[in-house]
């Protein structure tokens, strides 16, 4: 006897498996009471399916769905939008399961399951969820096939052969879909480059960042850009500690601040207890400075050069633009003051004011302001002077004159961080306190799903470091209004909704896995390939000398190879698997049609033998027999003579089969 299963049971089975998969995927997302309710609900639904108890009426269930959705909307908050949504969807699925399901209900259930898995994948970024996604998409394909059949023929009984065939078909569909998705994945980043950028030669000007010197007003240009500067994977810190040190600007020219050509090298200061490790990925941009939390003890990465004073740069490599992401590690001690470890601070350098700078007015201001105040109190006093309401933070109407700092102090009194910092540093220098500017970023939005800070260009910031002669420390002062209280650090944070954070995690993780995937790496790969073809031995030597490259990519390579291998294997099996001949299909169709009337052929029975055992009698049975007999006679002749069945023959036989199937 051939083994068989009813279509309905198969559908229930597949749906239950899908629910189980989705449940596992979503279990980290949905809350505990939901979990229990859903689990019991599914069990109860299964019980209802296999007992002969009546199903609850549709109207009750529809009302229940409405109530669930309403209550979900009531509880929704900005932070937990997806969690609530997923939980509500799972509840809706349970309600659906309780119904007396028709084909479209199964389709609804499976699409809701897919949605809940995708939602869970967005919320809890874990590698495992990709498998759930694959699994549910496969199950969904199978379910669609089954429910399409269920729609046409609810009482069908499928032999295992047919089930296997359906299964193979849905896997073929799934595997055909996969390259498309992967293709989109590879095309999308390039399409974004092409479509989102205005055409024209100066494509790279769109990127922005700190350059080697700071002309007053230039930071504003950076701040007005909301592109992401870098992401730093690290623990969560208080906003006031988020000073990302970049450049020390200690040479004042009157209009701009410059870094010294080179600082004496500095050995790392001893690590204290408050050490934070960051792994930072910088977005492509012009900046050669590497940013790390104040104060960086050490920084590791490809071609990192230490400039002392906690300043690090990457080697230029002849480029003025970095077209790739750049990844490095930094260790910092969180502190607002630090000791220069091995150098004696060259006081005169941090006190110098250029000759062409008119210092008299500032001098009179500071003398009036700071009379009778000790050196270590002066920075505070200057900061107090530079605070609202006298001075105002603004990104508009910045003083843009030949002497912007004086203009700021005496006339406009409106400006952004660079003006405040510059003014403070100049005032300190004039009053005899060594001071310098530090440019970098302040603040950042913490993505707690990903465990990293997103620091965007509008977090760009400039602050002041003043020398404390008594304790031999550089102390950080931030004269920009609101900065020290931490409110400035929150700039841009509110722009990130929960959802966009999830999306950013997704984007970030994928781009880290397939980092370096952009135009340049593609052309590089092409170039390398061309080299290998044109000069194999040299290329291999080169490659061998460059083993690190292999080391670095071997993991990813192995993954890709595995994927390619399985794809090839599955394709091979799918292609090699003998395609059913028309004869086999017809025979199978005939068997199915006859099964509907309760006739099942034993494998050892011949067709004539089979139909001769049919019930004979009055009208309907005789007509069914006539149809079957017609089929058998025509089919048999071609089949056993070894004539291929095709064209009109096949059509006629198919027609007979469908007449037998519909016969009643």
């Amino acid at each position: 006897m051939k083994k068989s299963i009813t279509l309905k049971n198969l559908l229930i089975f597949n749906t239950t498996v899908s629910v189980a998969v989705a449940f596992m995927a979503a279990s980290s997302v949905i809350q505990f009471p939901f979990k229990i309710t859903i689990f019991c609900g599914v069990l109860f639904a299964l019980f209802l399916d296999f007992s002969h108890l009546p199903k609850p009426p549709r109207i009750v269930l529809n009302a229940a769905s409405v109530v669930i959705m309403m209550s979900a909307f009531m509880r929704i908050t900005y932070q937990t939008i997806i969690e609530t949504f997923t939980g509500a969807i799972m509840m809706m699925i349970v309600v659906k399961l309780l119904e007396d399901r028709r084909a479209h209900d199964y389709v609804q259930i499976i699409s809701m399951l897919a949605v809940s898995v995708v939602c869970s994948a967005i919320v809890s970024i874990s590698q495992g969820l990709i498998y759930y996604c694959f699994l549910i998409s496969f199950l969904a394909g199978f379910e669609l096939l089954l429910s399409a059949w269920f729609d046409k023929e609810p009482g069908a009984i499928l032999s295992f052969g047919v089930v296997r065939q359906l299964f193979t078909r849905s896997s073929v569909i799934w595997w055909m879909m996969l390259p498309l998705c992967l293709g989109l994945f590879f095309i999308a980043p390039r399409a974004a480059v092409v479509m989102l950028r205005p055409p024209g030669p100066g494509v790279q000007e769109a990127r922005i960042g700190f350059s080697d010197f700071l002309t007053l007003g230039s930071v504003r240009n950076i701040q007005e850009n909301d592109a992401i500067a870098f992401r730093a994977e690290m623990k969560l810190l208080a906003p006031k500690d988020l000073y990302w040190r970049g450049i020390v600007l200690d040479v004042f020219t009157g209009t701009s601040w410059l870094p010294s050509r080179r600082y004496p090298a500095q050995s790392p200061a001893g690590a204290g207890s408050d050490v934070v490790r960051q792994s930072i990925v910088m977005e492509p941009g012009p900046s050669r400075w590497l940013f790390a939390l104040d104060f960086p003890i050490s920084t590791y990465g490809d071609g990192v050069v230490s400039f002392g004073q906690g300043i690090y740069r990457r080697s230029a490599g002849g480029n003025t633009m970095y077209s790739r992401r750049y990844e490095y590690e930094a260790i910092s001690r969180i502190s607002s003051s630090f000791a220069p470890s091995d150098e004696r601070v060259d006081i005169s350098r941090y006190l110098s004011i250029p000759d062409n700078f008119n210092r008299s007015s500032i001098q009179s201001l500071t003398e009036r302001l700071l009379s009778g105040i000790g050196d270590d109190e002066k920075p505070r006093a200057v900061m107090n002077y530079l605070s609202p309401p006298l001075f105002e933070y603004s990104l508009e109407d910045l003083p843009m004159s030949a002497a912007p700092t004086e203009d700021f102090i005496f006339n406009s009194r409106r400006g952004n961080c660079e003006f405040f910092a510059s003014a403070m540093a100049v005032m300190l220098r004039v009053s005899g306190v060594p001071a310098r500017l530090v440019a970098g970023y302040h603040g950042g939005a913490y993505n707690d799903s990903g465990g990293y800070y997103i620091v965007s260009q509008n977090n760009a910031h400039v602050w002041v470091e003043a020398w404390d002669d008594r304790s031999n420390l550089w102390r950080r002062y931030d004269p920009t209004p609101g900065a020290e209280s931490g409110s400035f650090a929150a700039i841009g944070v509110e722009e990130y909704s929960r959802l966009s954070m999830y999306l950013d995690v997704l984007n970030y993780r994928i781009s880290r896995v397939f980092m370096e995937y952009d135009n340049s790496s593609q052309s590089e790969a092409l170039y390398r390939m061309r080299e290998i073809i044109s000069n194999p031995s040299a290329a291999i030597k080169d490659l061998a000398g460059n083993m690190r490259w292999i080391d670095e990519y071997s993991g990813r390579l192995a993954g890709l190879l595995l994927l390619a291998g399985t794809t090839a294997l599955v394709l091979y099996i799918a292609l090699r698997a003998r395609r059913k001949t028309t004869e086999e299909k017809l025979l199978e169709g005939f068997h199915l049609a006859m099964t509907r009337h309760g006739y099942r052929r034993r494998p050892c029975e011949g067709l004539e033998e089979f139909i001769s055992a049919m019930r004979r009698g009055p009208e309907p049975e005789e007509r069914l027999f006539a149809l079957a007999n017609d089929f058998v006679a025509r089919f048999e002749e071609r089949y056993f003579k070894g004539i291929r069945i095709a064209g009109s023959d096949a059509e006629y036989l198919k027609g007979l089969i469908s007449r037998i199937r519909r016969f009643s």
Partner: protein, 312 residues
């Protein structure tokens, strides 16, 4: 009709023609017809008095065959079967006197009573379709069909046919008791040998040979049927209770028989049912079963047939 529905007009004609003489022996008749049209020999295992001779005589008459009869005893000599050279003194030379074997249809009664020597002479000529007497080979008549009988109940003083010789016979069959109505008819009408002798022939020996050729050439046995037959023979060879399975000759004979059945059913191609109908009659006497399962032969073969899928 228990076996199958005969649709071939020629065969129907034959059956209608002879059925008045063979009361209720339709199944046996069909088997005989299959053997005649495919040129095979028949071994009838049955009790005496069930109409074996009548069946043979009627067959010979209706096909226009010459008829020979050998009644086997243990002192029967090979030359009694094949014929012998007799010295004619007046002409000073030997003259060949052909034995009963030089007929189209030879009825060999109680073949297991003949001595092995005679049996093998007979069986050899069945296989070779020729007889060699004193070094001279004589062709036998065409067609040449042997109907041998043996009594399954009585074994005393018999020489059972060697198993290896059994497959010279296309079929081993039994006639069985007629049903009550047929038997009543036989009793009422009595056996009328004379009227059988007046039965007009429908064929000639030559036309039967022509029909045999026609069946051989016109009826298609596709690869699927060949595979079906091969699957059956393979299964008999690997079955745990079978000591000796079907030989290649057995497979050929089965195919020949199936062709004939297909033709009789009015088709020009073979289907698995044609193979199945006489599978037992054709195969069972060719198989040797392991000790203790000899009497189960029929059931074993049935289980083998049930395992082979008719359509793939």
């Amino acid at each position: 009709m228990a076996l199958f529905e005969v649709k071939n007009d020629t065969v129907r004609g034959v059956m209608e023609h002879v059925s008045p003489y063979l009361h209720g022996k339709d199944e046996a008749l069909i088997r005989v017809l299959v053997c005649v049209f495919s040129g095979g020999h028949i071994l009838i295992e049955d009790l005496p008095g069930l109409g074996k001779t009548t069946l043979a005589v009627v067959t010979a008459r209706v096909f226009g065959f010459t008829f020979g009869r050998v009644q086997c005893t243990n002192d029967l000599l090979p030359t009694d079967v094949t014929g012998l050279n007799v010295f004619r003194a007046e002409r000073g030379e030997f003259e060949f006197h052909p034995g009963p074997i030089f007929n189209n249809l030879v009825l060999v009664d109680e073949i297991n009573r003949a001595s092995p020597k005679t049996q093998s002479a007979l069986l050899e000529s069945m296989g070779e379709e020729q007889a060699t007497i004193d070094g001279i080979t004589h062709r036998l008549a065409e067609p040449f069909i042997v109907m041998a009988t043996q009594n399954p109940a009585e074994y005393a003083g018999t020489f059972p046919l060697p198993e290896s010789q059994m497959d010279r016979f296309m079929m081993r069959m039994s006639i069985g008791y007629p049903d009550r109505n047929s038997e009543r008819d036989i009793l009422r009408l009595g056996l009328n040998r004379r009227s059988i002798d007046q039965l007009p022939p429908l064929f000639s020996a030559a036309s039967v040979v022509g029909l045999q050729r026609e069946i051989e050439h016109e009826v298609t046995a596709g690869d699927r049927i060949l595979d079906y037959i091969l699957s059956i023979t393979e299964k008999t060879r690997s079955h745990p209770l079978v000591a000796c399975g079907i030989s290649t000759r057995g497979a050929m004979v089965l195919l020949k028989c199936a062709r004939c059945v297909a033709w009789m059913r009015g088709r020009d191609f073979v289907v698995p049912e044609d193979v199945k109908v006489f599978a037992g009659d054709v195969l069972l006497h060719r198989m040797q079963f392991k000790d203790g399962s000899r009497s189960e032969g029929g059931r074993i073969l049935q289980s083998i047939m049930d395992e082979v899928p008719a359509l793939k």
